[in-house]
Symmetry: C2
Subunit: 222 residues, 2 copies
Protein backbone atom coordinates (compact mmCIF):
# COMPACT_ATOMS: atom_id res chain seq x y z
CA UNK A 1 0.00 0.00 0.00
CA UNK A 2 1.25 3.39 -0.89
CA UNK A 3 1.24 5.79 2.02
CA UNK A 4 2.30 8.76 -0.04
CA UNK A 5 -0.72 10.78 -0.94
CA UNK A 6 -0.83 11.82 -4.53
CA UNK A 7 -1.13 15.59 -4.69
CA UNK A 8 -3.41 16.36 -7.57
CA UNK A 9 -2.54 19.74 -9.01
CA UNK A 10 -5.98 20.83 -10.05
CA UNK A 11 -5.75 23.61 -12.62
CA UNK A 12 -7.40 26.88 -11.64
CA UNK A 13 -10.55 27.40 -13.64
CA UNK A 14 -10.13 30.69 -15.45
CA UNK A 15 -12.23 32.26 -18.12
CA UNK A 16 -15.46 31.71 -16.20
CA UNK A 17 -17.76 34.71 -16.05
CA UNK A 18 -18.67 34.70 -12.38
CA UNK A 19 -21.91 36.25 -11.16
CA UNK A 20 -21.26 39.63 -9.52
CA UNK A 21 -22.63 38.63 -6.09
CA UNK A 22 -20.22 35.67 -6.05
CA UNK A 23 -17.35 37.97 -7.02
CA UNK A 24 -18.31 40.25 -4.13
CA UNK A 25 -18.35 37.42 -1.62
CA UNK A 26 -15.19 35.53 -2.65
CA UNK A 27 -12.85 38.27 -1.35
CA UNK A 28 -14.67 38.13 2.03
CA UNK A 29 -13.95 34.40 2.22
CA UNK A 30 -10.33 35.00 1.27
CA UNK A 31 -9.89 37.66 3.98
CA UNK A 32 -11.31 35.28 6.58
CA UNK A 33 -9.24 32.33 5.30
CA UNK A 34 -6.13 34.55 5.42
CA UNK A 35 -6.76 35.11 9.12
CA UNK A 36 -7.23 31.37 9.76
CA UNK A 37 -4.05 30.65 7.79
CA UNK A 38 -2.07 33.13 9.87
CA UNK A 39 -3.44 31.41 12.99
CA UNK A 40 -2.24 28.04 11.73
CA UNK A 41 -5.73 26.55 11.31
CA UNK A 42 -5.66 23.42 9.13
CA UNK A 43 -9.24 23.03 7.95
CA UNK A 44 -12.41 25.08 7.80
CA UNK A 45 -15.99 24.08 7.09
CA UNK A 46 -18.53 26.16 5.19
CA UNK A 47 -20.60 26.23 8.41
CA UNK A 48 -17.67 27.86 10.18
CA UNK A 49 -17.21 30.43 7.40
CA UNK A 50 -20.96 30.96 7.50
CA UNK A 51 -20.97 31.76 11.22
CA UNK A 52 -17.99 34.09 10.95
CA UNK A 53 -19.28 36.09 7.99
CA UNK A 54 -23.08 35.90 8.31
CA UNK A 55 -23.40 34.29 4.89
CA UNK A 56 -25.63 31.28 4.31
CA UNK A 57 -23.54 28.04 4.35
CA UNK A 58 -25.22 26.67 1.22
CA UNK A 59 -24.38 29.96 -0.54
CA UNK A 60 -20.74 29.57 0.45
CA UNK A 61 -20.64 26.00 -0.87
CA UNK A 62 -22.22 27.22 -4.12
CA UNK A 63 -19.77 30.12 -4.49
CA UNK A 64 -16.81 27.84 -3.84
CA UNK A 65 -18.12 25.32 -6.36
CA UNK A 66 -16.82 27.67 -9.07
CA UNK A 67 -13.33 26.83 -7.83
CA UNK A 68 -11.63 23.50 -8.35
CA UNK A 69 -11.75 22.64 -4.68
CA UNK A 70 -13.82 20.17 -2.75
CA UNK A 71 -14.32 20.18 1.00
CA UNK A 72 -14.05 16.84 2.83
CA UNK A 73 -17.05 15.60 4.81
CA UNK A 74 -16.73 16.46 8.52
CA UNK A 75 -13.30 18.06 7.95
CA UNK A 76 -14.03 20.85 5.53
CA UNK A 77 -11.66 22.70 3.24
CA UNK A 78 -7.88 22.66 3.54
CA UNK A 79 -7.13 26.25 4.62
CA UNK A 80 -3.78 26.63 2.84
CA UNK A 81 -5.14 25.14 -0.39
CA UNK A 82 -8.33 27.19 -0.30
CA UNK A 83 -6.28 30.34 0.30
CA UNK A 84 -4.01 29.64 -2.69
CA UNK A 85 -6.84 28.70 -5.01
CA UNK A 86 -8.98 31.69 -4.02
CA UNK A 87 -6.15 34.22 -4.40
CA UNK A 88 -5.14 32.74 -7.78
CA UNK A 89 -8.71 32.50 -8.96
CA UNK A 90 -9.45 36.13 -8.08
CA UNK A 91 -6.36 37.25 -9.98
CA UNK A 92 -4.72 38.78 -6.91
CA UNK A 93 -1.38 37.06 -7.49
CA UNK A 94 -0.77 38.29 -11.00
CA UNK A 95 0.38 41.85 -11.67
CA UNK A 96 -2.19 43.91 -13.60
CA UNK A 97 -0.87 47.19 -14.97
CA UNK A 98 -3.08 50.23 -14.58
CA UNK A 99 -3.02 53.96 -15.26
CA UNK A 100 -4.51 56.62 -13.02
CA UNK A 101 -6.33 59.28 -15.00
CA UNK A 102 -6.51 62.47 -12.95
CA UNK A 103 -3.67 62.96 -10.46
CA UNK A 104 -5.77 64.89 -7.91
CA UNK A 105 -6.05 63.97 -4.24
CA UNK A 106 -7.86 60.66 -4.79
CA UNK A 107 -5.72 59.61 -7.77
CA UNK A 108 -2.50 60.32 -5.86
CA UNK A 109 -3.87 58.52 -2.81
CA UNK A 110 -4.55 55.37 -4.82
CA UNK A 111 -1.00 55.55 -6.21
CA UNK A 112 0.29 55.52 -2.63
CA UNK A 113 -2.03 52.82 -1.30
CA UNK A 114 -0.11 49.69 -0.46
CA UNK A 115 -3.30 47.58 -0.42
CA UNK A 116 -3.85 47.71 -4.17
CA UNK A 117 -0.48 46.18 -5.06
CA UNK A 118 -1.13 43.38 -2.56
CA UNK A 119 -4.23 42.60 -4.61
CA UNK A 120 -2.39 42.52 -7.91
CA UNK A 121 -2.84 46.08 -9.13
CA UNK A 122 0.29 47.83 -10.35
CA UNK A 123 -0.31 51.51 -11.09
CA UNK A 124 2.39 52.21 -13.66
CA UNK A 125 1.76 55.93 -14.25
CA UNK A 126 -0.74 58.74 -13.95
CA UNK A 127 -2.07 61.04 -16.65
CA UNK A 128 -3.17 64.62 -16.12
CA UNK A 129 -3.69 67.85 -18.03
CA UNK A 130 -2.05 70.01 -15.37
CA UNK A 131 1.37 70.94 -16.79
CA UNK A 132 2.56 71.76 -13.26
CA UNK A 133 2.09 68.08 -12.34
CA UNK A 134 3.36 66.56 -15.59
CA UNK A 135 6.97 65.42 -15.19
CA UNK A 136 6.70 64.93 -11.43
CA UNK A 137 6.35 61.60 -9.66
CA UNK A 138 4.06 60.07 -7.05
CA UNK A 139 5.38 57.05 -5.15
CA UNK A 140 8.02 56.56 -7.83
CA UNK A 141 5.54 56.58 -10.71
CA UNK A 142 5.53 59.34 -13.34
CA UNK A 143 2.73 61.77 -14.05
CA UNK A 144 2.49 62.15 -17.82
CA UNK A 145 0.41 64.43 -20.01
CA UNK A 146 -2.95 63.02 -21.05
CA UNK A 147 -1.98 63.64 -24.69
CA UNK A 148 0.66 60.94 -24.31
CA UNK A 149 -1.74 58.31 -22.97
CA UNK A 150 -1.49 56.00 -25.99
CA UNK A 151 2.28 55.85 -25.74
CA UNK A 152 2.16 55.41 -21.95
CA UNK A 153 -0.41 52.63 -22.25
CA UNK A 154 1.72 50.83 -24.85
CA UNK A 155 4.99 51.25 -22.96
CA UNK A 156 3.55 50.09 -19.65
CA UNK A 157 1.21 47.48 -21.08
CA UNK A 158 -1.63 48.93 -19.02
CA UNK A 159 -5.18 47.95 -19.98
CA UNK A 160 -6.92 49.26 -16.83
CA UNK A 161 -7.66 52.96 -16.31
CA UNK A 162 -8.57 54.29 -12.87
CA UNK A 163 -10.81 57.30 -13.38
CA UNK A 164 -10.26 59.94 -10.71
CA UNK A 165 -10.86 63.09 -12.76
CA UNK A 166 -13.46 65.75 -11.87
CA UNK A 167 -16.81 64.19 -12.74
CA UNK A 168 -17.53 66.89 -15.34
CA UNK A 169 -14.86 65.40 -17.60
CA UNK A 170 -15.32 61.74 -16.64
CA UNK A 171 -16.96 60.74 -19.93
CA UNK A 172 -14.38 62.56 -22.02
CA UNK A 173 -11.49 61.04 -20.06
CA UNK A 174 -12.95 57.55 -20.39
CA UNK A 175 -13.38 58.01 -24.15
CA UNK A 176 -9.75 59.14 -24.47
CA UNK A 177 -8.54 56.15 -22.44
CA UNK A 178 -10.51 53.68 -24.55
CA UNK A 179 -9.19 55.23 -27.78
CA UNK A 180 -5.69 54.71 -26.37
CA UNK A 181 -6.29 50.98 -25.98
CA UNK A 182 -7.58 50.78 -22.39
CA UNK A 183 -10.01 47.88 -21.96
CA UNK A 184 -11.27 48.34 -18.41
CA UNK A 185 -12.44 51.52 -16.68
CA UNK A 186 -12.53 51.66 -12.89
CA UNK A 187 -14.68 54.70 -12.27
CA UNK A 188 -14.34 56.51 -8.94
CA UNK A 189 -16.32 59.57 -10.08
CA UNK A 190 -20.02 59.96 -9.35
CA UNK A 191 -20.68 60.34 -13.08
CA UNK A 192 -22.15 57.35 -14.87
CA UNK A 193 -19.73 56.84 -17.73
CA UNK A 194 -21.06 55.17 -20.88
CA UNK A 195 -18.80 52.74 -22.69
CA UNK A 196 -19.11 50.58 -25.76
CA UNK A 197 -19.71 46.84 -25.65
CA UNK A 198 -16.53 44.94 -24.86
CA UNK A 199 -15.16 47.44 -22.35
CA UNK A 200 -15.10 46.35 -18.70
CA UNK A 201 -16.72 48.93 -16.45
CA UNK A 202 -16.55 48.97 -12.65
CA UNK A 203 -18.04 51.76 -10.57
CA UNK A 204 -16.78 52.37 -7.06
CA UNK A 205 -19.58 54.67 -6.00
CA UNK A 206 -18.08 56.31 -2.95
CA UNK A 207 -20.68 59.08 -2.95
CA UNK A 208 -23.57 56.68 -3.36
CA UNK A 209 -22.31 54.89 -0.26
CA UNK A 210 -22.19 58.20 1.57
CA UNK A 211 -25.77 58.92 0.50
CA UNK A 212 -26.80 55.52 1.79
CA UNK A 213 -25.07 56.07 5.15
CA UNK A 214 -26.72 59.49 5.57
CA UNK A 215 -30.13 58.15 4.61
CA UNK A 216 -29.98 55.15 6.92
CA UNK A 217 -28.56 57.20 9.82
CA UNK A 218 -31.31 59.75 9.52
CA UNK A 219 -33.81 56.97 9.60
CA UNK A 220 -32.23 55.48 12.74
CA UNK A 221 -32.69 58.83 14.43
CA UNK A 222 -36.44 58.84 13.99
CA UNK B 1 -53.12 89.57 -12.58
CA UNK B 2 -50.17 88.81 -10.41
CA UNK B 3 -46.96 88.32 -12.38
CA UNK B 4 -44.90 87.36 -9.39
CA UNK B 5 -44.63 83.66 -9.27
CA UNK B 6 -45.18 82.20 -5.86
CA UNK B 7 -42.15 80.16 -4.93
CA UNK B 8 -43.45 77.16 -3.07
CA UNK B 9 -40.84 75.97 -0.61
CA UNK B 10 -41.55 72.28 -0.77
CA UNK B 11 -40.07 70.57 2.30
CA UNK B 12 -37.47 67.93 1.57
CA UNK B 13 -38.83 64.49 2.35
CA UNK B 14 -36.48 63.00 4.85
CA UNK B 15 -36.78 59.89 6.92
CA UNK B 16 -37.67 57.75 3.91
CA UNK B 17 -35.77 54.49 3.66
CA UNK B 18 -34.82 54.53 0.01
CA UNK B 19 -34.13 51.30 -1.88
CA UNK B 20 -30.40 50.82 -2.39
CA UNK B 21 -30.56 50.81 -6.21
CA UNK B 22 -32.32 54.19 -6.08
CA UNK B 23 -29.67 55.52 -3.69
CA UNK B 24 -27.02 54.35 -6.14
CA UNK B 25 -28.65 56.09 -9.08
CA UNK B 26 -29.60 59.43 -7.49
CA UNK B 27 -25.94 60.60 -7.25
CA UNK B 28 -25.54 59.82 -10.98
CA UNK B 29 -28.48 62.08 -11.74
CA UNK B 30 -27.05 64.78 -9.49
CA UNK B 31 -23.65 64.63 -11.21
CA UNK B 32 -25.32 65.01 -14.60
CA UNK B 33 -27.64 67.79 -13.38
CA UNK B 34 -24.61 69.59 -11.92
CA UNK B 35 -23.06 69.63 -15.39
CA UNK B 36 -26.27 70.95 -16.98
CA UNK B 37 -26.51 73.60 -14.25
CA UNK B 38 -22.95 74.75 -14.91
CA UNK B 39 -23.82 74.98 -18.62
CA UNK B 40 -26.82 77.21 -17.81
CA UNK B 41 -29.45 74.69 -18.97
CA UNK B 42 -32.91 75.60 -17.65
CA UNK B 43 -34.87 72.37 -17.90
CA UNK B 44 -34.22 68.69 -18.40
CA UNK B 45 -36.54 65.80 -19.20
CA UNK B 46 -36.25 62.27 -17.87
CA UNK B 47 -35.78 61.16 -21.50
CA UNK B 48 -32.75 63.43 -21.75
CA UNK B 49 -31.28 62.11 -18.48
CA UNK B 50 -32.04 58.61 -19.74
CA UNK B 51 -30.08 59.11 -22.95
CA UNK B 52 -27.12 60.67 -21.16
CA UNK B 53 -26.82 57.99 -18.46
CA UNK B 54 -28.16 54.83 -20.10
CA UNK B 55 -30.86 54.46 -17.45
CA UNK B 56 -34.46 53.67 -18.37
CA UNK B 57 -36.58 56.88 -18.42
CA UNK B 58 -39.40 55.30 -16.45
CA UNK B 59 -36.86 54.22 -13.82
CA UNK B 60 -35.63 57.80 -13.56
CA UNK B 61 -39.17 59.12 -13.13
CA UNK B 62 -39.76 56.48 -10.45
CA UNK B 63 -36.52 57.31 -8.61
CA UNK B 64 -37.28 61.03 -8.70
CA UNK B 65 -40.80 60.38 -7.41
CA UNK B 66 -39.22 59.89 -3.95
CA UNK B 67 -38.34 63.59 -4.08
CA UNK B 68 -40.85 66.43 -3.74
CA UNK B 69 -40.40 67.51 -7.33
CA UNK B 70 -42.61 67.18 -10.36
CA UNK B 71 -41.48 67.58 -13.94
CA UNK B 72 -43.69 69.66 -16.26
CA UNK B 73 -45.12 68.02 -19.37
CA UNK B 74 -42.99 68.77 -22.46
CA UNK B 75 -40.60 70.94 -20.40
CA UNK B 76 -39.24 68.56 -17.82
CA UNK B 77 -37.60 69.33 -14.51
CA UNK B 78 -36.26 72.72 -13.49
CA UNK B 79 -32.49 72.08 -13.42
CA UNK B 80 -31.63 74.45 -10.55
CA UNK B 81 -34.50 73.18 -8.43
CA UNK B 82 -33.76 69.53 -9.14
CA UNK B 83 -30.10 70.10 -8.26
CA UNK B 84 -30.98 71.72 -4.92
CA UNK B 85 -33.55 69.12 -3.99
CA UNK B 86 -31.32 66.19 -4.96
CA UNK B 87 -28.28 67.49 -3.06
CA UNK B 88 -30.39 68.25 0.03
CA UNK B 89 -32.21 64.96 -0.18
CA UNK B 90 -28.99 62.96 -0.43
CA UNK B 91 -27.61 64.77 2.63
CA UNK B 92 -24.66 66.24 0.72
CA UNK B 93 -25.24 69.78 2.02
CA UNK B 94 -25.18 68.99 5.72
CA UNK B 95 -21.90 68.33 7.52
CA UNK B 96 -21.62 64.78 8.87
CA UNK B 97 -18.78 64.22 11.31
CA UNK B 98 -16.72 61.09 10.87
CA UNK B 99 -13.66 59.40 12.35
CA UNK B 100 -11.06 57.47 10.40
CA UNK B 101 -10.03 54.29 12.18
CA UNK B 102 -6.60 53.24 10.98
CA UNK B 103 -4.34 56.07 9.77
CA UNK B 104 -2.49 53.99 7.18
CA UNK B 105 -2.13 54.94 3.52
CA UNK B 106 -5.83 54.66 2.66
CA UNK B 107 -7.04 56.32 5.87
CA UNK B 108 -4.69 59.25 5.41
CA UNK B 109 -5.67 59.51 1.76
CA UNK B 110 -9.35 59.80 2.63
CA UNK B 111 -8.49 62.53 5.16
CA UNK B 112 -6.84 64.46 2.34
CA UNK B 113 -9.53 63.87 -0.27
CA UNK B 114 -11.35 67.09 -1.10
CA UNK B 115 -14.25 65.19 -2.69
CA UNK B 116 -15.62 63.82 0.57
CA UNK B 117 -16.12 67.22 2.18
CA UNK B 118 -17.92 68.42 -0.96
CA UNK B 119 -20.36 65.58 -0.33
CA UNK B 120 -20.96 66.48 3.31
CA UNK B 121 -18.40 64.30 5.06
CA UNK B 122 -16.23 66.03 7.64
CA UNK B 123 -13.46 63.76 8.94
CA UNK B 124 -12.82 65.24 12.37
CA UNK B 125 -9.98 62.98 13.54
CA UNK B 126 -8.25 59.65 13.03
CA UNK B 127 -7.62 56.90 15.56
CA UNK B 128 -4.67 54.53 15.49
CA UNK B 129 -2.68 52.27 17.81
CA UNK B 130 0.69 53.38 16.42
CA UNK B 131 2.17 55.66 19.10
CA UNK B 132 4.51 57.15 16.48
CA UNK B 133 1.45 58.51 14.64
CA UNK B 134 -0.58 59.54 17.70
CA UNK B 135 -0.22 63.27 18.33
CA UNK B 136 0.55 64.09 14.69
CA UNK B 137 -1.88 65.62 12.20
CA UNK B 138 -3.10 64.84 8.69
CA UNK B 139 -4.64 67.70 6.73
CA UNK B 140 -5.09 69.63 9.98
CA UNK B 141 -6.91 66.80 11.75
CA UNK B 142 -5.41 65.04 14.77
CA UNK B 143 -4.47 61.38 14.99
CA UNK B 144 -5.51 60.15 18.44
CA UNK B 145 -4.96 56.88 20.25
CA UNK B 146 -7.69 54.29 19.71
CA UNK B 147 -8.08 54.06 23.51
CA UNK B 148 -9.44 57.63 23.46
CA UNK B 149 -12.08 56.94 20.82
CA UNK B 150 -15.05 57.46 23.13
CA UNK B 151 -13.85 60.89 24.15
CA UNK B 152 -12.95 61.83 20.57
CA UNK B 153 -16.37 60.68 19.34
CA UNK B 154 -18.12 62.72 22.01
CA UNK B 155 -15.99 65.84 21.51
CA UNK B 156 -16.34 65.82 17.75
CA UNK B 157 -19.93 64.55 17.66
CA UNK B 158 -18.89 61.92 15.12
CA UNK B 159 -21.28 59.00 14.56
CA UNK B 160 -19.65 57.63 11.39
CA UNK B 161 -16.47 55.52 11.49
CA UNK B 162 -14.43 54.93 8.34
CA UNK B 163 -12.72 51.58 8.71
CA UNK B 164 -9.29 51.54 7.07
CA UNK B 165 -7.45 49.20 9.43
CA UNK B 166 -5.70 45.99 8.32
CA UNK B 167 -8.50 43.50 7.62
CA UNK B 168 -7.26 41.15 10.35
CA UNK B 169 -8.44 43.61 12.99
CA UNK B 170 -11.49 44.98 11.14
CA UNK B 171 -14.04 43.23 13.34
CA UNK B 172 -12.30 44.26 16.55
CA UNK B 173 -11.96 47.87 15.41
CA UNK B 174 -15.64 48.01 14.43
CA UNK B 175 -16.67 46.60 17.82
CA UNK B 176 -14.57 49.22 19.62
CA UNK B 177 -16.08 52.01 17.50
CA UNK B 178 -19.64 50.86 18.19
CA UNK B 179 -18.94 50.63 21.94
CA UNK B 180 -17.73 54.22 21.74
CA UNK B 181 -21.06 55.38 20.34
CA UNK B 182 -20.44 55.15 16.59
CA UNK B 183 -23.65 54.36 14.69
CA UNK B 184 -22.45 53.86 11.12
CA UNK B 185 -19.47 51.86 9.86
CA UNK B 186 -18.08 52.59 6.41
CA UNK B 187 -15.94 49.53 5.79
CA UNK B 188 -13.07 49.81 3.28
CA UNK B 189 -11.46 46.52 4.33
CA UNK B 190 -12.12 43.26 2.46
CA UNK B 191 -13.29 41.68 5.73
CA UNK B 192 -17.02 41.28 6.18
CA UNK B 193 -17.64 42.96 9.50
CA UNK B 194 -20.63 41.81 11.54
CA UNK B 195 -22.62 44.43 13.42
CA UNK B 196 -25.67 44.37 15.64
CA UNK B 197 -29.12 45.47 14.49
CA UNK B 198 -29.44 49.24 14.42
CA UNK B 199 -25.91 49.94 13.17
CA UNK B 200 -25.59 51.27 9.63
CA UNK B 201 -23.11 49.27 7.59
CA UNK B 202 -21.71 50.25 4.19
CA UNK B 203 -19.05 48.23 2.42
CA UNK B 204 -16.89 49.85 -0.21
CA UNK B 205 -15.46 46.67 -1.62
CA UNK B 206 -12.46 47.96 -3.52
CA UNK B 207 -10.91 44.50 -3.79
CA UNK B 208 -14.14 42.89 -4.94
CA UNK B 209 -14.22 45.46 -7.75
CA UNK B 210 -10.65 44.57 -8.62
CA UNK B 211 -11.59 40.88 -8.72
CA UNK B 212 -14.47 41.73 -11.03
CA UNK B 213 -12.26 43.75 -13.36
CA UNK B 214 -9.67 40.96 -13.53
CA UNK B 215 -12.33 38.31 -14.15
CA UNK B 216 -14.09 40.25 -16.87
CA UNK B 217 -10.81 41.27 -18.55
CA UNK B 218 -9.63 37.68 -18.66
CA UNK B 219 -12.88 36.70 -20.23
CA UNK B 220 -12.53 39.42 -22.87
CA UNK B 221 -9.17 37.97 -23.81
CA UNK B 222 -10.57 34.56 -24.67
Amino acid sequence: MNNHKIELQVPVQTGIILPEPTLRRLPWYLAYIDILYAQGTGHVSSTQISRALNVDASQIAKDLSFLSIKGKTRIGYDVAQLRDILADFLGFRVSHKALVIGAGSLGRALMCDTGLSTYGLDIAAALDIDTALVGTEVNGRPICHIDDIEEVAQTTGAVIAILTVPFEVAQEAADIAISAGIRAIWNFTPYRVKTAEGIVMANTSIYAHLAMIYNRLENLNR
